[in-house]
C-alpha cells in the first residue's frame, strides 16, 4: 500500500501557529488537516467584564493586519446593542477607513506573500532581487493604505481613533484632499497590479463553493448588509448563531465553522465578488471584464486576481468618499448604556467577521463571541487540499508540497506570513 505524507510544521510564533498535514494513500488524498492556533478565543474571555467602550481597542489587538475589521465589527455590534445608528458622514468615514485596510492588507498579500508562488520565487526577498521595481510598486501601494489609515485612525497599525458611536476626531476636508493625490496614483498602480497578476499561470481547478458574504442593497460590502449565500441563505447578522455553528475538531485548537445542515462555506474575496459584482465601481467592473474574469470565479488560485480588483475598487471608492465627504457636526453620536445583545458583521480583507456581545445595564460586557474569517474558511481549505491537490498526485514531492502551501495561501489566512517561512518535512511511508 503506497502511503505518502506531506507535512508542513510551523515555526512557533507568539501571534499564532499553523501546520499542514496531508496523507495520501493509494493514489488519493486520505486526509488533509490544517491546524491553527486562534487568538480570538483568548480575547473573548479578555473582553468579559470590560466596558462596552473598550471593545474596539481590545478587539483591534487580535490582528495587526486587519485591526479595522475587528474594530468595525465591534462598534457595529455595540451600536446594535445600544439601539443607535450613525449619521451618513461618520458611516462614510468608516467605509473610508476600511478602504485603507483593504489596500494595506491586499497589497501585502498580493505582492509579498502570494505572487512569489506564481513566479517561482521562495519569497518576497528573492522576488525583490529579480524584480525590484515590481516589489517597490507593491510597497508603494501598501503605503498609500498605511497613510490613509494613519490619517483616519491616528496611526498605521492598531488605529486608536475609532470609538463606539463614531470617532474621537474626524478629518477636515483639506486633510482628505491632500491624500487624494496619493490615492489617484495608487489607483493607477492598482490597475497595473490587476494586469500584472492576470498574466500569471493558474492551476486549473474549479470548486463548487458555498459562497457567503455580506450583501448591502446598493454598495460593495464593508460594514453592513445581510448575510447571503450562493445557495439561498439570506439572513440578518442577528440570526448568525441560528444558522452558523462552530465545532471542535481533534487536530486543531481552532474551531471549524459550518452552516447548519449545509456544510462548509467560503468567505472572502471570491465570495464577496461573486455575490456583489454589480456593486463594484464601473472601473473595477470594466477592468475585471478586460482581464477575462467572469462574474463568478470558483478557481481559488485566481483569488489573487479578485483581490487585485478589490484593491482597485478600494482606491476608487476611497476617492469617491473623499470627493463627497461633508464634515460631520460631531465626531460621535451620544450613547447611553443599556442591557442587551448586539450583533455586528463586517467584511475583513479575508472575509466576513462576526461579533456578538451581551451587555449589562451599565454597559459591562457579559459575554463576547468572535468568529474570524480564517476559522470560517478552515473547512474549505481542507476540502481544497483534498479535492484540488488530489488531482496533482503525480507531481514530485517538492512540487506537490509547494502546491499544498500555495493552496493554503490562496486564502491569505492569518498564518500566511508564517507559511512562507515554514520548515517543511516530507515523509514517505
Amino acid at each position: 500500500m503506497a502511503r505518502r505524507t506531506i507535512k508542513v510544521d510551523a515555526l512557533a510564533r507568539v501571534e499564532g501557529e499553523g501546520a499542514l498535514h496531508v496523507t495520501v494513500r493509494d493514489g488519493a488524498v486520505e486526509r488533509a488537516e490544517l491546524r491553527f492556533y486562534e487568538p480570538p478565543r483568548f480575547f473573548e474571555a479578555l473582553l468579559r467584564g470590560r466596558a462596552y467602550t473598550e471593545a474596539p481597542d481590545i478587539a483591534a489587538r487580535i490582528c495587526g493586519i486587519c485591526p479595522v475589521a475587528y474594530q468595525m465589527s465591534a462598534v457595529h455590534a455595540m451600536e446594535d446593542a445600544l439601539g443607535v445608528s450613525i449619521p451618513q458622514p461618520l458611516r462614510d468615514l468608516r467605509r473610508l477607513l476600511y478602504c485603507a485596510e483593504w489596500i494595506e492588507s491586499h497589497a501585502l498579500h498580493i505582492y509579498m506573500l502570494h505572487a512569489p508562488d506564481f513566479l517561482g520565487f521562495e519569497g518576497a526577498i528573492d522576488m525583490a532581487r529579480a524584480h525590484p521595481g515590481v516589489v517597490a510598486r507593491g510597497l508603494a501601494l501598501k503605503k498609500t493604505g498605511n497613510d490613509l489609515m494613519a490619517l483616519l485612525g491616528g496611526r498605521e497599525v492598531h488605529p486608536i481613533n475609532v470609538r463606539v458611536g463614531g470617532f474621537y476626531k474626524v478629518p477636515r476636508r483639506r486633510d482628505l484632499a491632500a491624500i487624494a493625490e496619493g490615492l489617484k496614483r495608487a489607483r493607477d498602480v492598482a490597475l497595473e497590479t490587476v494586469k500584472w497578476v492576470a498574466g500569471f499561470d493558474f492551476p486549473e481547478c474549479e470548486r463548487d463553493y458555498q459562497l457567503v458574504a455580506l450583501c448591502p442593497a446598493a454598495e460593495y460590502p464593508f460594514n453592513e448588509g445581510r448575510i447571503v449565500s450562493s445557495r439561498g441563505l439570506d439572513i440578518a447578522a442577528r440570526d448568525y448563531d441560528e444558522h452558523f455553528e462552530e465545532e471542535h475538531v481533534a487536530h486543531s485548537t481552532a474551531l471549524h465553522a459550518h452552516i447548519r445542515g449545509r456544510g462548509a462555506y467560503l468567505v472572502g474575496p471570491l465570495a464577496r465578488y461573486a455575490l456583489n459584482f454589480d456593486k463594484l465601481s464601473p472601473l473595477a467592473r470594466a477592468t475585471a471584464r478586460d482581464i477575462g474574469l467572469d462574474r463568478v470565479c470558483r478557481n481559488p488560485y485566481r483569488s489573487i486576481m479578485v483581490r487585485a480588483i478589490e484593491v482597485l475598487y478600494a482606491c476608487d471608492e476611497a476617492l469617491r468618499l473623499i470627493e463627497s465627504y461633508a464634515e460631520p457636526d460631531a465626531p460621535c453620536v451620544a450613547l447611553s448604556p443599556r442591557a442587551g445583545v448586539g450583533h455586528g458583521c463586517t467584511e475583513a480583507p479575508r472575509g466576513m467577521l462576526y461579533h456578538r456581545y451581551q451587555l449589562a445595564a451599565d454597559g459591562t460586557i457579559i459575554s463576547a463571541r468572535i468568529v474570524p474569517p480564517t476559522s470560517q474558511n478552515q473547512a474549505s481549505i481542507e476540502e481544497d487540499l483534498t479535492i484540488c491537490v488530489g488531482a496533482w498526485l503525480d507531481l514530485p514531492d517538492d512540487a506537490l508540497r509547494h502546491r499544498c502551501e500555495q493552496t493554503v495561501r490562496n486564502y491569505d489566512p492569518c498564518i500566511s506570513c508564517a507559511t512562507h517561512f515554514l520548515r517543511v518535512d516530507m515523509n514517505r511511508v
Binding site: R13, V135, V157
Partner: protein, 160 residues
C-alpha cells in the same frame, strides 16, 4: 526623512515583557538628544521598517532576540555587510519582520550605507510584564554603545 540623517529604530511590543527592549533603548537614546539623530519606535512590521529606513544614511536597529543564549546577551550585527543570522528576532505580528525588512531593503537598493542591528536576548514575553533585570541592564549598555557609535559617525560624516 531628510537624506543623510542618522536613524534609530527601536522595535518591539511595549506590552510584552522583554520584547519591549528595542523601544526602551530607543527611548533612552531619545532623551540624549544627539544632534542629527532621529529616533523611531516601531512594532517590527517589514513595510513600516522599510519606509523608515528609506533615505537614511545610517541606521541603528534594536530588537529582542530568542536564540537560546543567556538572557541579556548583546549581539551586534553589521547588516550592511552581511545577512542577519537566522535567529528569531522579537515577535513581529505576521512573520515578515526585521531580518526580512533588511533583506528587502538590500534587494531594493534602499539599505543605508551603515546599518547596524543590536539584538538583546530576552528571557520572558509575558503580557504586561516589565523587562527582566538582565535585559534592563543590557538595554542601558546598548544605549551607551549606540550613542558612542553615532557620535563617531555624525562627527566623521558630518551628517545632520
Amino acid at each position: 526623512m531628510p537624506t543623510g540623517q542618522c536613524l534609530v529604530i527601536g522595535i518591539g511590543n511595549a506590552d510584552r515583557g522583554d520584547d519591549a527592549v528595542g523601544r526602551v533603548v530607543a527611548r533612552k537614546l531619545s532623551t540624549r538628544r544627539i544632534p542629527g539623530v532621529r529616533v523611531l519606535e516601531q512594532g517590527g512590521e517589514a513595510a513600516g521598517l522599510l519606509d523608515g529606513l528609506s533615505g537614511a544614511q545610517a541606521a541603528y536597529l534594536i530588537d529582542a532576540a530568542r536564540s537560546g543564549r543567556l538572557p541579556g546577551t548583546i549581539s551586534r550585527f553589521d547588516a550592511a555587510a552581511m545577512e542577519l543570522p537566522r535567529i528569531a528576532f522579537g515577535c513581529s505580528t505576521h512573520g515578515l519582520g526585521l531580518a526580512e525588512a533588511i533583506e528587502l531593503a538590500r534587494a531594493l537598493g534602499q539599505l543605508p550605507h551603515r546599518c547596524v542591528v543590536y539584538a538583546i536576548e530576552g528571557r520572558a514575553y509575558d503580557i504586561g510584564a516589565p523587562l527582566s533585570p538582565e535585559v534592563a541592564t543590557a538595554a542601558e549598555a546598548v544605549a551607551r554603545m549606540i550613542a558612542d557609535e553615532m557620535r563617531g559617525f555624525v562627527r566623521d560624516e558630518g551628517a545632520g
